[in-house]
Amino acid sequence: MTVPSPPEDTPAAAAPVLELDALDVAFGFGPRRRQVLHGVSLSLAEGRTLGLVGESGSGKSTLAKAVVGLVRPSGGRVLLDGDDLAGARRDRLATLRRRVQLIPQDPYASLNPRMTAGEAIAEAIDPRRGKLYAHRDEVETLLGKVAMDPDAADRYPNAFSGGQRQRIAIARALAVRPEVIIADEVTSALDCSVQAEVLGVLRDLRAAGPLTMLFISHDLAVVRHVSDEVAVMSEGRIVEHRERDALFTAPQNAYTKTLLASVPRVRA
């Protein structure tokens, strides 16, 4: 569709924590090779939340996977504080990976049903041994950050609602003290009132301290709610990337405009 002009008023980046430099990702070989990301460049400064919106097939989930290392880029670089994630050797990759944490979409699939919430978080703190009693205080502090009671540590996932599970998944991601959190459609599987609960926790976390987050969603209203700046993806490219309010009130790109106009609104 529209040929993307390089976004002009890209938010002024202080020292970027996460930087994507002309990232290409392709799947398949030969004639069936399909390029999913075309030279995506993005930078995310410390303490900022970047909302990434796009429709299915736009490449936003592939981008998340490339950042956490689940997908190997075919070109370009993923830099974390200047370290190249994609080019890292196997032994260093494990430590590098811990610096980026992913909160997956489905809170019913992302927690091991045979581990208590506390054990899951303790394991994130110390993936080698991960004994709950050794990290009890820290686990309870983390649960507190996502507004859960300390005794939640001793319960199994099936004792929690979808929203509570997602809060535990967030606490687990925080436990690693990552430099960047990737939230991939974290509210898409949730009912509206539960979504509000999870969004509220994310907002509180942002207010409480520096949180650097890449927030991926197909829902523009949700993205508006949590982001400082927003990038719009279409067909493997970033078509617009600006400060949140600028993008929502005065979109420049034609595709962004269509997208915004399509959102169903309650208030006319």
Binding site: P127, D191, V266
Partner: protein, 632 residues
């Protein structure tokens, strides 16, 4: 940890009892019958069954029953030993293959495939023939021969679980392979493995007995059931008695293993654990008379006092009354479990098996939908659009034949005519290249095109009512906008009434004239769309829902609704929203509010509509709600 939530099915109980009895025998057998089993009696060889020797005697005059009982220990030990070797070896091998790198894994999987296809008994025979036959050789041989089955199951199950999010999350956290296996993989695949263990026990027992019968197993002076059987088998036509005791023993032990396996397979369900206390006894309401408003007589669709119940009487939908006028577009909105889809499916007579609808009135035009309904009228007067367009078409048939089917079966229309009408409907639904699409299979269309085709198909018979159940939930936002427009167009063009079900209050606001809000199986508010757009919802739940919904045009703080909706079986007798409602008072818990019409149009089921909620009176109510709401 699985024991706590084990369901004791009959087969599990019988199997466990049998196995326990055998274990007792194994412990005491040699002590009690050991002497009798070894006592030679040259005067009484090859005896048949008698009161003294219930299962006769063998070639040396020893009592076969005593020998069988005494052999329990060795036989079971051998079977357990072989099972243990199979399980430990197989699971370790499978796990090792699974955690190793891609190349080794590929090789390992192939190897397992080859080994599994190689008959275990032949393998065991070869091993015992190469080494000298003995009890130990047998056990090792049979154990090793069963390893591949465990290895295969382990790799299969592990592969199944490896794609689960919690495993990839653990990998991203840097959890080491060993711990991954111990904490994340094995506990989640333990049950099927346990089932295989019991099956392997039975298989090993049979194989070991077989080897002993052939003389390849235990060697004298040791004896197990198999060798007892083997010794007496050649004389079976002369003296069958000595065959009986060891045969029964083998069958009983094999049965015990099999029954335990079956029982475990049926019994273990990991999600049943930790479900908190039982809920309060639910108040059963007599709903002979529908509460609140009843549908006007001139309505196209009239539903009064509709309930949908589970076989145990739990009401998933309770006392819902609604109506649609001809040509009206009505939306039903609610969160999961609110009963919105069930309500619509009850109207379409498409409730899932086992759910029972009940209504004082349920009709479409002159068609009473409560009893038997002429299938032709049902198929032609109600059109349905589902959430997932790929699931509603048959993937193996071309669109053309699927689109024209209803017309041809119920509409007495010829093939050519039906086809022409289908093309026309596709065109109206803005499906590109309609003629070509008729010759395509569903998967050749994009999701949005498929949903358009679905709508075209639903409209082909010119139904009076179109039910669209979450028709845009699986679609992208730009496609969603077009599909919603399409529904509205069809309504304006043909006067088709539309019942639109959605979890998204924004979606129903787009095209509906009137919006119904459901909560916990009940209808709580009905309002004209203008009032919703103006933010004038009256019911506390509707207001809370709006306050929790983010909007793309403003950056407002969201107010989550504390707590969660009640399960249908625990639904309070009073207002279902009371435990979460800021305004709740004592009467809300005691009585169920009914839909009351409001002057401004619409209706709401809430006592607060009659209260004086001037700013001075509100804080008290809000305080009490806050104190109970804090225990999230």
């Amino acid at each position: 940890m699985t024991l706590k939530n084990l369901r004791w099915t009959p087969s599990l109980v019988i199997g466990t009892v049998l196995m326990a009895a055998l274990l007792v025998l194994a412990v005491i057998g040699p002590m009690v019958w050991g002497d009798a089993a070894d006592r030679l009696n040259p005067q009484a060889t090859h005896q048949s069954a008698s009161a003294e020797h219930l299962s006769g005697t063998d070639a040396l005059g020893r009592d076969v029953l005593a020998r069988t009982l005494a052999a329990t220990r060795l036989t079971l030990l051998m079977a357990f030993g072989a099972t243990a070797i199979a399980a430990v070896g197989g699971i370790l091998f499978g796990a090792a293959v699974w955690v190793s790198g891609p190349r080794v894994r590929e090789l390992g999987l192939r190897l397992i495939d080859v080994l599994v296809s190689y008959p275990a008994v032949i393998f065991a025979l070869t091993v015992t023939a190469v080494l000298s036959p003995s009890a130990t050789t047998c056990v090792v041989a049979i154990g090793l021969a069963s390893c591949p089955a465990f290895a295969r199951l382990t790799t299969n199950l592990a592969a199944g679980i490896a794609n689960r999010d919690f495993v990839s999350t653990a990998r991203l956290l840097g959890v080491a392979p060993g711990r991954m296996l111990r904490r994340h993989i094995l506990p989640n695949i333990a049950e099927p493995l346990l089932v295989l263990v019991s099956v392997a026990f039975t298989v090993s027992l049979k194989a070991l007995s077989g080897l002993s019968v052939l003389g390849m197993g235990t060697q004298p002076p040791k004896y197990d059931w198999g060798s007892l059987l083997g010794k007496s088998l050649p004389d079976i036509y002369v003296n069958a008695a000595p065959v009986v005791a060891p045969s029964i023993a083998i069958i009983v032990a094999g049965l015990a293993g099999g029954l335990i396996g079956d029982g475990l397979a049926a019994a273990v369900h990991p999600d049943a654990r930790g479900r908190g206390g039982k809920a309060r006894i639910k108040a059963v309401l007599a709903a002979t008379e529908p509460a609140g408003r009843t549908a006007p007589d001139d309505a196209l669709v009239a539903v009064d006092g509709l309930s949908v119940s589970l076989p145990d009487g739990t009401r998933l939908v309770e006392d819902v009354s609604l109506h649609l006028r001809a040509g009206e577009v009505v939306g039903v909105v609610g969160e999961s479990g609110s009963g919105k889809s069930l309500t619509a499916m009850a109207v379409a007579k498409l409730l899932p098996e086992g759910l029972r609808p009940d209504a004082a009135r349920l009709r479409l035009g002159d068609l009473d939908l409560r009893g038997e309904v002429d299938p032709k009228r049902l198929a032609t007067e109600i059109g349905i659009v589902y959430q997932d367009p790929s699931a509603s078409f048959n993937p193996t048939l071309k669109l053309g034949s699927q689109l024209t089917e209803t017309l041809r079966v119920h509409g007495d229309t010829g093939r050519a005519e039906a086809s022409a009408q289908a093309v026309e409907q596709l065109r109206l639904a803005h499906v590109t290249l309609p003629e070509q699409r008729m010759k395509q299979h569903p998967h050749e269309l994009s999701g949005g095109m498929r949903q358009r085709a679905m709508i075209a198909s639903a409209l082909l018979t010119k139904p009076r009512l179109l039910i669209a159940d979450e028709p845009t939930t699986a679609l992208d936002v730009t496609v969603q906008a077009e599909v919603l427009k399409l529904l509205r167009e069809a309504n304006e063009r043909d006067g088709t009434a539309v019942l639109l079900i959605s979890h998204d209050i924004g979606v129903v606001t787009q095209i509906c004239d009137r919006v119904l809000v459901m909560y916990s199986g009940r209808l709580v508010e009905e309002l004209p769309v203008e009032r919703l757009r103006a933010g004038e919802a009256r019911h506390p739940y509707t207001r809370a829902l709006l306050a929790a919904t983010p909007e793309v045009d403003e950056d407002k703080p969201l107010a989550p609704i504390p707590g969660r909706p009640p399960q249908p079986a625990d639904r309070p007798a009073g207002c279902a929203f009371a435990p979460r409602c800021e305004l709740a008072r004592a009467e809300c818990e005691e009585h169920r509010p009914v839909l009351q019409p409001m002057e401004s149009g619409g209706a709401a089921a809430c006592f607060a509509l009659d209260w004086d909620l001037t700013p001075e009176s509100v804080p008290a109510a809000a305080d009490s709600a806050a104190s109970e709401g804090s225990t999230a």
